[in-house]
């Protein structure tokens, strides 16, 4: 599928702020399954944009507005084409014990500091375990929406998995975080993915929709023979594997490694945030490409 994406964020401050520095992780990645055809960022008030790729390979755009201002808009535009991924391998549990797998898994197997205390997840972890790693991946993507309600407003951007357990509800970020733990505790390396999801109604009636930034995850599966292990995307918010509606920005161990916007400014003013993501299909039968 081909999409044009427009991700617009506006901060309105109740008093002027200065030295407003931001890091933006919002540009689509180019991977075997997707190609970012063009992308651009505009900032108002105007600022010099600096770009680099971080440790995880995510494109980061940085800028700073030093002079006082009471409004900041960030406008990201991109065109991207996604394609079907090949069928994932279906390795045995034993295949996860090889050196090659462990090296590729690296930090994606490690527990993080803010995980729920021992025991709290033992039941879920056991329930998530399938016959093999691939089955476990798919099972996790079903298990979480079965057990937890998708409800915005219950958790916030800094919530932990424990908060999700307590509330019994959360959003895609929380679901992804829980899935990561369940997979890692089953010995499967897993990484958090940030991106956009073209969540169109099933009847294909809309070509241009308002969405939010989305989070899902990828699990690492050993490939048969000497092949390099393969990352396979699953979406525990929407069940099943990630597909061509998923546009990936980047990945990390958790949310904090790939936040769409991270910033600080000087001043004690409080900010009102308005963000919108509009995704438009460029290759639909309706021919609605702008």
């Amino acid at each position: 599928m081909r999409f044009s994406i427009r991700y617009r964020t506006e901060y309105q401050y109740d008093a002027p702020v200065a030295d407003n520095l931001n890091s933006l992780r919002a540009l689509p990645a180019t991977t075997p399954a997707q190609r970012c055809e063009e992308s651009g960022v505009r900032v108002d008030p105007e600022a010099r944009l600096i770009q680099h790729n971080d440790y995880f390979g995510t494109r980061v755009v940085e800028f700073g507005v030093s002079r006082p201002h009471d409004r900041l808009t960030i406008d990201v535009r991109a065109k991207v084409e996604t394609s079907e991924t090949p069928e994932p391998p279906d390795p045995s549990w034993e295949a996860l014990a090889t050196d090659a797998y462990r090296r590729a898994a690296a930090e994606y197997l490690l527990p993080s500091d803010d995980e729920p205390l021992n025991g709290a997840l033992d039941g879920l972890r056991a329930d998530a375990r399938g016959d093999g790693p691939l089955a476990t991946l798919l099972r996790v993507s079903e298990l979480i929406p079965d057990r937890f309600e998708y409800r915005p407003g219950v958790t916030y951007v800094g919530s932990t998995v424990q908060d999700l357990l307590d509330a019994g509800a959360g959003v895609c970020q929380d679901f992804a975080h829980l899935a990561l733990i369940l997979l890692r505790r089953n010995g499967i390396a897993a990484r958090y993915v940030s991106g956009y999801l073209f969540a169109a109604p099933p009847d294909d009636s809309e070509d241009s929709i308002e969405v939010n930034t989305h989070a899902w995850l990828e699990g690492l599966l050993a490939a048969p023979g000497d092949g390099a292990p393969v990352w396979v995307g699953i979406d525990p918010t929407n069940r099943g594997r990630a597909g061509t509606q998923h546009v990936k920005i980047g990945h990390g161990r958790r949310y904090a490694d790939v936040p769409p916007i991270k910033g600080v400014y000087r001043g004690s003013a409080s900010a009102e945030l308005e963000a919108s993501v509009r995704m438009t299909r460029l290759d639909s039968g309706n021919g609605a490409a702008p």
Binding site: I50, H52, G64, L110, P111, N118, V264
Partner: protein, 530 residues
């Protein structure tokens, strides 16, 4: 003939190496003069010097504050004079030469390792250090990935902790390549010794330490990004509440550079500036005295108020040098320590000059079981900490403590290492009565890596002031000693003078009071009339 300290015969502790006396209680050759001088001064004179020392240290504010239960009972925090023991520790020149070479070798390897970890990962590819071991270190700094600092120097300032075992052999106990502290005490201790007990120096050729600030400054200038001809260097301190603030101020003062806090620094685009009374001034090199986690809230901990947002942008762009470089913490992790001898062989193709203490990594289940069985005889340390935090000493622990420690280790074995107990050497130290008694010591020499590696002669000797204790940290009853590295040639008394040259002393104005001699008076003789 061996000299004995007459005030109270000195008895070296059994099973430990004493650096000034041999096992029979006689002074070692390099200590004979010192022992006889101490004897001449006597307990009373030494105690008086101790009182003067405390007064001077209080006056100069060379203090530390005790934290802990004992202090809480007092109800108020009180500054204590830094406890400097007046008996110096003496190391002969040949011994120091070995230490110096060993340290330089070690620091070179650690520096290569940091570079490798954030770039080519050769040591991982070669199968020497497992990648998962590196990425699991809490100080592995992902934001440092791919950044190459000027001159490929990462560990600008390093301080390795050395100990000597019962056989007198030197071993490295710990590497510190983040922000090792203590150098200010080395310099202040020396100055205090020359003022308090100058008589002890007679007969020794002690190598001076006071060029450290100049060494450090020239190294910090050498790594400054090019462009402007006069690089600006600053020392960045977290602020007066930090326990090492004295040292931060000391270094800024002795180097003649600004001591800044986060609020003084600002990054505009990709350049770091400090706020001055005449506007923003470019900063080229920051000697920072805080951990990676706190330097830039945009890239590390976002809850850190100590940091400078955008600092990593400037660093990445190469307009700013940070000392030490970002990410060095991965090299002084206590689990990585285990591989340092391998690093030396891998990167330098040399055999390590200084040995490690026998260390067990607990990620291996067999090792873990072995260690858990012998916990009562081992030392266990958390991998990511420094300064003696969380260290467990088996032989001194109760059964309950051992059980609790075992529980902690089982919960996350990767966060711990175990080591054989080192029988720290002793040096005679004045006890409260003014008599000499053996106390355990370690040594932290300081190295500066600029264009090359320089090591200040000696270093900080920390001494456990409690009898039998091997905890040398100042927060836990430790003190320090002046460390004397002797020049190659020991002169019996006085120092050789440079060849004389004819100097014509300029005339000195005569300061003697001038007198005021009255003019001879004349008698009034005129008569009227006649």
């Amino acid at each position: 003939m061996a000299t004995e300290y007459t005030a109270a015969p000195y008895a070296p502790a059994d099973g430990f190496y004493d650096e000034l006396f041999d096992a029979s209680g006689g002074a070692r050759p390099h200590a004979e003069t010192l022992v006889s001088r101490l004897e001449r001064l006597g307990a009373g004179e030494l105690a008086a010097a101790g009182r003067r020392r405390d007064a001077i240290f209080m006056q100069q504010g060379i203090t530390f504050d005790l934290t802990g239960a004992a202090e809480a009972a007092d109800g108020e925090l009180r500054d204590r004079p830094f406890p400097l023991d007046l008996v110096p520790r003496i190391l002969p020149a040949d011994e120091w030469t070995v230490i110096k070479r060993g340290l330089a070798q070690r620091i070179r390897a650690l520096n290569r390792f940091v570079d490798d970890v954030y770039h080519a990962r050769e040591i991982v590819e070669a199968g020497v250090v497992p990648w998962e071991m590196i990425v699991s270190r809490s100080h592995f700094a992902r934001p440092a990935y791919g950044i190459r600092p000027p001159g490929d120097v990462y560990c600008h300032v390093a301080g390795c902790d050395l100990v000597r075992d019962a056989d007198g052999r030197w071993k490295v106990l710990e590497d510190n390549v983040r922000t090792p502290s203590g150098i200010s005490y080395v310099l202040e201790n020396r100055l205090a010794m020359t003022r308090l007990v100058p008589g002890l120096f007679a007969g020794y050729h002690v190598r001076p330490v006071d060029n450290y600030p100049a060494l450090l400054l020239s190294a910090l200038r050498a790594v400054a990004p090019g462009g402007d001809d006069e690089p600006t260097v600053v020392v960045w301190s977290p602020g007066p509440a930090n326990s090492a603030y004295f040292e931060h101020a000391f270094l800024a003062r002795t180097m003649g550079v600004e001591l800044v806090e986060a609020s003084d620094l600002v990054v505009r685009d990709e350049v770091c500036y400090m706020r001055t009374t005449s506007g923003l001034a470019r900063v080229h090199t920051i000697y920072r005295r805080l951990d990676d986690d706190f330097i830039d809230p945009l890239e590390f901990r976002s809850d850190s108020l100590l940091g400078v947002p955008g600092l990593m942008r400037a660093y990445r762009a190469g307009t700013l040098a940070l000392a030490n470089a970002v990410g060095t913490g991965v090299a002084d992790d206590k689990a990585i320590y285990h591989w340092v001898p391998e690093m030396i062989r891998f990167y330098l193709g040399e055999e390590p000059i200084l040995d490690n203490v026998e260390t067990y990594l607990l990620s291996d289940p067999e090792r873990l079981a072995y260690v858990l069985e012998r916990l009562d005889r081992l030392v266990v340390k958390p991998t990511g900490e420094s300064g003696g935090k969380g260290v467990f000493i088996g032989p001194r622990a109760t059964d309950a403590e051992i059980a609790a420690q075992a529980e902690l280790i089982r919960a996350d074995p990767r966060r711990w290492i175990a080591q054989e107990l080192v029988h720290l050497s002793t040096v005679p130290t004045l006890d409260s009565s003014g008599a000499l008694a053996p106390r355990h010591v370690d040594l932290r020499p300081f190295a500066v890596f600029g264009e090359d590696i320089s090591i200040v002669p000696g270093g900080l000797t920390r001494v456990a002031l409690r009898p039998g204790s091997m905890i040398v940290n100042s927060s836990q009853g430790g003190g320090s000693k002046d460390t004397w590295i002797l020049d190659e040639e020991v002169v019996p008394d006085g120092r050789p003078l440079p060849p004389r040259r004819a100097t014509v002393p300029p005339p000195l104005p005569d300061l003697r009071q001038s007198s005021w001699t009255g003019q001879q008076e004349q008698q009034q003789q005129e008569r009227s009339g006649g």
